[in-house]
Symmetry: C2
Subunit: 120 residues, 2 copies
Amino acid sequence: MKAIILFGHGARDIRWREPFDRLAGLWRSQHPGIPVELAFLEMMQPSLEEAVAALAALGAKSITVVPVFFGQGGHLRNDFPALLKECQAQFTAVTLSATPAVGEDLAVLQAIVDFGARAL
Amino acid sequence: MKAIILFGHGARDIRWREPFDRLAGLWRSQHPGIPVELAFLEMMQPSLEEAVAALAALGAKSITVVPVFFGQGGHLRNDFPALLKECQAQFTAVTLSATPAVGEDLAVLQAIVDFGARAL
C-alpha cells in the first residue's frame, strides 16, 4: 500500500498548522485510498519518524514524503535527507522516497501568482 | 500605479530564494504593467522597506504585499504587521495593504495536493 507524508517546518504558534490540516483534509477527501499523515521538522508533532510509524502500522509499504516548503535551503538540503535516511534505517519494511519541495512546482507557483493578481 | 511585493521569510542558503525569483519572473511575464519586488523578513535582501522604496521610486501609489508563507504564525501575526505599519509611516505617499498568507488560498493548497498525487 502506498501512503503520503506532507512534511512542513513547524512553528511555535499552533495556528501555523491550519493550512497543513486543510491540506491533509483535501488529500483525504480526494485520495481516500492513500493514507496521509502530516509531519514536522521541529516545534510541532508528529515528527517524520512518528508519521512513518503510523503509516507503517496501517500497512504502508511505500511512502512518499512531500516537503511543503517553498525554498530548498539548509533544512531541505541537509536536515531532511539525514532525517529521511534515519527513518529508512529504522523502518526496513517500508520504502521511503521524497519529492522536491512544493515550491519547485510550476503549478504551485502559478497558483500563488493568480492569488496575488486576484488581490490587486 | 499599483504594484505588488512578494514577501518571504528568507534563509541563509542563497539557493532558498530560487522559487521566489521564479515567482517574480512569472509575475513580470504575465502582469507586465504591475511592477513586482521580492522582499524578505530576515537573512535576505531586499527588506520590505527597501522593496517599498524601490516601488515608490517607480511611481507606485498602491502596493499590495503578498506573504508567501504557508502558515500564519508569529512571523505573520506579529512581526509582519509591525513591519508593515513602520513602512506605511515612512512612505506616506504610498498606500500599503496586505493579503493573507498564500497558504490560506484553496487553489494553492489544491496545487500542492495535485503535486503530491502526481509524485506517487
